[in-house]
């Protein structure tokens, strides 16, 4: 089921079967070119498959944007250990809801992408780690997997070619940190979702310490079309250093929020005004987050001239991230936004390392106070300072994810904090339990 109208400006490659009647069924998939890329791969060597993916300039769609072909090439060819494919379907980055529509509307696309990856590295078993909240997707994926088994695309002797691959779903249980690849693997092994020390990276020592290809749902879903079109053609859909299309989630104050498949390099202005139908209520855009709440926030002015790709966003001091675009209009309370974002990271910090565990907690308390207008201008400095003290010092990138938006909001919207505290007059600390007293 589609939750929003498609846009004529989309380039529908991954989503091209969306909206077909019974689009999740294997018959629909097969009738529209499904599993052909996999069959094509059966005639290719592992190197050829990986080369094709490298040529496509596909970069991971989970947020970090690491080149997928390169990642696959890290998997040791000659390893006595079994190899695994793991799909990151934990989709928990605020602002992101694209993997969900892919699995819901075209589950076989994901299965085919996984099969190709398995072929490329010689894996015999795979798991799709789906966040606990997406229970209905487990049912959809399980059904699709069953169909694939019954049509001999999965199992001990795939298509009679003596190839073996088993695929299973695995549910999470509510933890953002389990989207981080090493924490995901821990969780998949039945443990707390706490990240691992890296290196070694999953490609070398992943699930059960065996070589593992771990990618985002959308990354795997892109692979069949890369094989189908050829890496080069796929690369040309995008920009020089990043190929293809990207599922973009337009969220926030926009007229037509929704998930749209756009070429990488799509202009922000066109995306907001034409795909998204403009800012809600004809208001001005105050702030813009390109790829989920972990990215530094841009002001409207900064964002308008940019294009939606990794380099352009990096140049502007932010990240393309997961494609969760968050648009905030001129009426948005940025202090509240900063607080809500910190509330999230504080809730999701796994607690492993000190700067993240204590930093997010302190910041949440501090921002709560500032949101109530209780505080001094020194407290605003403190927010920025604490966030800086987390940045780059935590065990995993979650700490950075909490620090980056906070630093940018304080930097770019400091006047909003000032305005809030100016409204409420406070006396200096009275006691530890009530650090500030409101003077009427």
């Amino acid at each position: 089921m589609l939750y929003n109208e498609p846009s004529p400006l989309e380039t529908r490659v991954l989503t091209r079967r969306f909206g077909l009647p019974n689009s999740a069924h294997i018959d629909t998939y097969l009738a529209h070119g499904g599993y052909r890329s996999f069959e094509k791969c059966l005639e290719m060597t592992q190197e050829q498959i990986i080369e094709e993916v490298k040529a496509s300039n596909l970069r991971g769609r989970g947020g970090a944007g690491f080149p997928t072909g390169l990642k696959w090439s890290f998997v040791p060819r000659q390893s006595p250990k079994p190899k695994y494919i793991v799909v990151n379907a934990d989709e928990s980055e605020p602002g992101t809801c694209k993997d969900r529509v892919l699995m819901e509307n075209d589950p076989h696309l994901l299965i085919e992408g996984v099969l190709i990856a398995a072929q490329a590295v010689g894996a015999k078993r795979g798991y799709i780690y789906i966040r606990g909240e997406y229970r209905y997707l487990i049912d959809i994926m399980d059904r699709a997997i069953e169909e694939a088994y019954s049509r001999n695309y999965l199992g001990k002797n795939i298509l009679g070619r003596g190839i073996e691959f088993d695929l299973y779903t695995h549910t999470g249980a509510g933890a953002y940190e389990c989207g981080e690849e090493s924490a995901l693997l821990e969780s998949l092994e039945g443990k707390r979702g706490q990240p691992r020390i890296r290196p070694p990276f999953p490609a070398v020592a992943g699930l059960y310490q065996c070589p593992t290809v771990l990618n985002n749902v959308e990354t795997f879903c892109a692979v069949p079309s890369i094989i189908e079109m050829g890496g080069k053609a796929w690369a040309e859909l995008g920009v020089p250093k990043a190929g293809g299309t990207k599922l973009t989630c337009l969220t926030g104050h926009i007229n037509k929020p929704g998930v749209y498949e756009l070429r990488l390099g799509f202009p922000v202005e066109k995306m907001i005004n034409e795909v998204g139908g403009g800012i809600r209520g004809g208001k001005k855009m105050k702030a813009f987050i390109p790829g989920g709440s972990s990215c530094p926030v841009l002001t409207g002015e900064e964002a308008w001239p940019l294009t939606m790709d990794y380099d352009s966003m990096a140049k502007a001091g932010t990240m393309l991230g997961s494609g969760g675009v968050i648009i905030m209009d001129e009426d948005t309370d940025m202090v509240k936004a900063a607080l809500r974002i910190m509330h999230f990271y504080q809730h999701e910090s796994c607690g492993w390392c000190i700067p993240c565990r204590e930093g997010t907690t302190w910041l949440k308390k501090l921002l709560t106070r500032l949101d109530q207008g209780l505080g001094t201008s020194r407290d605003i400095d403190l927010v920025g300072d604490l966030a800086q003290n987390m940045l780059g010092r935590t065990f995993c990138p979650l700490g950075d994810a909490a620090a980056l938006p906070t630093i940018s909001i304080v930097q770019k919207f400091r006047h909003e904090f000032e305005a809030k505290i100016a409204k409420v007059q406070v006396a200096m600390p009275a006691s530890a339990n009530h650090p500030f007293v409101v003077v009427q």
Binding site: G95, R100, R131, R135, Y136, E189, G252, I327, R340, F344
Partner: protein
Amino acid sequence: MTFSPELEKKLAKLIASYPPGKEKSALVPMLMFTQDEVGCITPELVQEVAKRLNIPPVQVDEVVSYYSMLHRKPMGKYHIQICTNISCLLWDADKLFEHACQKLGLGHKQVSADGQFSLEEVECIGACSWAPAIQVNYDFHHHVTPEKFDQIIDSLKKVQ
């Protein structure tokens, strides 16, 4: 502890989906599936799961207390989860949550006296483009206005 035949079947299939010797992998899904039937993670359930996976109970406790969807106390028959994270907040999810509190007479993580409803303010549920979004148990509802919220609750009440 025994579970329904369907659940037993599901658990057997679950455990079989991991390589031999790696049965501990089934822990999180097993807790999720059994919680759905038992209602919450009781101490007996912890013992049972530990026994079935042949791990010390403290390892089950470690996991139960880590994941936010695993509960030690039963939630309502209808567990209403309202996302107030940033994309939903921009569509007034905070006001929706307040409205829900009023409507249900419940606060965050509270359960109604009759055990029918419980309310929870949750983090992003992956419905950001169709905000504000809520989940009733595992079912999504998108673009939820206070009016729509009332309709959802009223129709659930009628089902009872």
